[in-house]
Symmetry: C5
Subunit: 250 residues, 5 copies
Amino acid sequence: MDIATLIGLIGAMGLIAGAIFMGGGVGGFIDMPSVLIVIGGTFAVTFVMFPLKTVLSSFKVAMKTFLGSSPDPKQNISQLVSLAETARKESLVALEKVSLDDPFMARGVLLVADGTDETLVRSIMESEIQSMIKRHRTGQNVFKGMGTFSPAFGMIGTLIGLVRMLQNLDDPSSIGPAMAVALLTTFYGAVLANVFFLPMANKLAERSQEEAHYMEITTEGVLSILNGEHPNILKEKLASYLAPNQRESS
Amino acid sequence: MDIATLIGLIGAMGLIAGAIFMGGGVGGFIDMPSVLIVIGGTFAVTFVMFPLKTVLSSFKVAMKTFLGSSPDPKQNISQLVSLAETARKESLVALEKVSLDDPFMARGVLLVADGTDETLVRSIMESEIQSMIKRHRTGQNVFKGMGTFSPAFGMIGTLIGLVRMLQNLDDPSSIGPAMAVALLTTFYGAVLANVFFLPMANKLAERSQEEAHYMEITTEGVLSILNGEHPNILKEKLASYLAPNQRESS
Amino acid sequence: MDIATLIGLIGAMGLIAGAIFMGGGVGGFIDMPSVLIVIGGTFAVTFVMFPLKTVLSSFKVAMKTFLGSSPDPKQNISQLVSLAETARKESLVALEKVSLDDPFMARGVLLVADGTDETLVRSIMESEIQSMIKRHRTGQNVFKGMGTFSPAFGMIGTLIGLVRMLQNLDDPSSIGPAMAVALLTTFYGAVLANVFFLPMANKLAERSQEEAHYMEITTEGVLSILNGEHPNILKEKLASYLAPNQRESS
Amino acid sequence: MDIATLIGLIGAMGLIAGAIFMGGGVGGFIDMPSVLIVIGGTFAVTFVMFPLKTVLSSFKVAMKTFLGSSPDPKQNISQLVSLAETARKESLVALEKVSLDDPFMARGVLLVADGTDETLVRSIMESEIQSMIKRHRTGQNVFKGMGTFSPAFGMIGTLIGLVRMLQNLDDPSSIGPAMAVALLTTFYGAVLANVFFLPMANKLAERSQEEAHYMEITTEGVLSILNGEHPNILKEKLASYLAPNQRESS
Amino acid sequence: MDIATLIGLIGAMGLIAGAIFMGGGVGGFIDMPSVLIVIGGTFAVTFVMFPLKTVLSSFKVAMKTFLGSSPDPKQNISQLVSLAETARKESLVALEKVSLDDPFMARGVLLVADGTDETLVRSIMESEIQSMIKRHRTGQNVFKGMGTFSPAFGMIGTLIGLVRMLQNLDDPSSIGPAMAVALLTTFYGAVLANVFFLPMANKLAERSQEEAHYMEITTEGVLSILNGEHPNILKEKLASYLAPNQRESS
């Protein structure tokens, strides 16, 4: 599991809960109808925004992303270099027998071992990267959408509360608590958007970029192997994808 | 009909109606002049924003989109593979006799059967995709525009109510109800924008993307058939347009 | 004149006027100094934002756009097809004698009749489209700018009114009317931006796109004529620029 | 000096000053600490945002832009046509002796006279346009940044005033004036951003575009001369950069 | 260290502190729980937004950027010209012995000295520029994210304070101070975002652009050397990357 996400969520919720407790108890901050309208409304609108299949698949994408670990481009490069060495020493066909963990690299290498044309290999691998980016972007969009509409439902809830309160100003002692309840939906909307949906949408984008970066390195490497380039040139080429401090001294 | 849209709309409106009922009756939340200025104003401004023809056609596009079902890229691919097999076994001309449901695929296949030049086929199919995207984008823009201007008219209505209330502060007992009415237009504007117009604009965009994706697969497939590529290569190529879990095991 | 713009403006202003009248007279909503600071300030800032020539020319562009009628791409295509037939039956030179209403098409056809090189014809026609888009975009920017700065001047006016009111809280009976007047500039700014400037900027953009679309069809058609393509191919090619329901059954 | 900028600034400030005077004197609207925190804070943050050199050079760019006059593309074209005629009648080398006011055109013509390769001339002229655009964009960014942060400092000032006022609610008669002062920073921030910084950033962008347009015409013209194209073709080509009503009847 | 950043930060904080002191002491503006929720919440959310490694590395990038000095493109060009002269007089291989401070230029020159192919040199150098830009953009995004979420946590804090205050309206004398404390988190959020995070994100972007500009000049120069172009042509070419007033008179 992505430990930073967990720490961040627990930290942020802990601070908010702490601030509430310190002021004298959490009771006044829990109001079931307010919870319902903000969370329920946000989810309802998500189904208006996206096809059913997209909402479900985007939760799966999100799950996989938060539970999976970041790919390591450095290890990726050394694996590609060793493949290039195998191809040099033996032959492209010999790559067929190498077993690889990463299905994307495996697919590319298999295409090369099968003697597929360079243009076709590049077009297959690049359109796979594009497909992955598109799938991930949909996931981000679902989360971003929820981050946009949860404050909107917070405001709708507050407006309902305010209108009702203004219609019943006869009992002055009820004004304060009524307004407090009205503000709760705004509070819920703000917390949902700013602690959960928007930051998570951002992490999905970051992860997607990492994965695309990783897959671009793999594509570059596989094509270099197909062209029979020297493992050292391959290494030199791929090194420029890394930050200087990540590069091996060679 | 797109079931998610329906569920979402009913869910969101139900939650809002529930919140209003629970607070003691829906009466105070209905004010015809307020309804008129927000809905009427939003539609009036839509006619200033777009040519008459565009507004009407965009409602048609929206209808078709909400009522139509999502295309299925997987079935699309298997159909293209079977066309490729026919072309291989018989000839490109034989494709003329195949009857196809999808008019876009039918048009592409007919061009191929007629022996049209590859560049021309690609340019015709791609400019058709672009035309479709443009038409859909106009539809989205109409909905987005309504989602922008309905809160604006909500605010204009509230400002009118506030100015009038501030000019008549003599009777303190009327201040509350007057402000409640003034806030109603803001409430209507927020509901219209956040439950209807903006989420629907988003669904139109999602659908448009699905359709473009589907048409790109079709274009790629038709061109592959024209070039006489082997059905297996076609399958391999098009598979990269799908999410890994959508791909057939082969 | 563009009838939708007129209907929209009258409708929106009528609804606002109706809401004001219903509340007891329009008197309290007219305040000359407030009108002056919002309208005057918006125009003054427009001169800071744009060169003098640009402001003037953009009003002319806007006028022409609102008064002119939408071009009809379907008629455009049939005219191009008939030109292609003339060129086939007689010769490219024969096109010189055809009289055309649309100056852009006339210019393109004249270049073709003069035997100008394809690359040059394309570059001249495309840079003319780009120039038209640029001119129109400037017009849109002027309107968008006014739509951004009129609410800003509304807020500046309201701030002036609030500061003055807060400095004179001695007479409680004057507080309400003073705040009402202070809010008027915000109201004017909101109406100007949301009924006039922003929707009009959008219509200019729509019109510009229509015209660019029309000119692209013309360019494609003229180049097709220059290349001596068969009128049927020309028809097929240009048809993909239209929505399916706009296409002639052939 | 750019007369529209001057008129606009004087007009906007005059209207604001008028609105203040009409309400009974300018005294209550001047508060030195408030001026200091808004103007001082905005400038301080500008130094955090940009390298020192950039801030200084961007003020110079702005000065030059506001004081300089708009280039005239029509005169530019006629000058290029006359250069093309000279080149035709005499030779490319003869251009070396022509003296030109515009340093950019002079540089291009000199390169042509020196017999420089077309690709090199184009790359030098285009990268000079890009450099100019970049320099100007930095200037715009400085002004835009100031337009973003002056309202922010206005809000920070108002928050300080509000917090202090709320801590001293004992004397009711001081509440009004204290809030009035607190609002002044918001007022200053709004005026600075909406009358000065943001509109000026926009004018810089407009001017930059005019200059780029002018330089593109020059580049196109110089390359046409280098290729020995007929002055009439050059005229025809460059005419499409102008609005139809700017073109000479020929 | 970047002196402008330091001056700006001290200036802005000094002005804010001054405004607070002048109003009667800093005591009422410091509230530890408020500090905790805004700063703690912002950092917690940053960990939800970005992978752990990214947050840490972005602080390092930021440090290096604020402490490092701007590169000097003029000196860069003269160094490239002198390398070009060496290459002309001696040979490309002779460049191997030149010792260079800038690791990016050194890498490029070494590739040239090794007789690497032009396309490969360009692709290695350009992908290194892209990598650098990506790394810096991540750094900016972390700061921008903090600048977006610190006001959000300010608002969340204020909402908690308001709700609690509204639930305890019995003691009127406590209302003012309670609201003052509630507003403090908004104040902290505004200062953090507008004095620190957002302006710093902007400076990182500016620095990144400067460095990319510098590296583009270097790439252009190295490739020109590889192609054996005359040092004067190299000078002429690179001069167009500079502002006219930065160019040497030659």
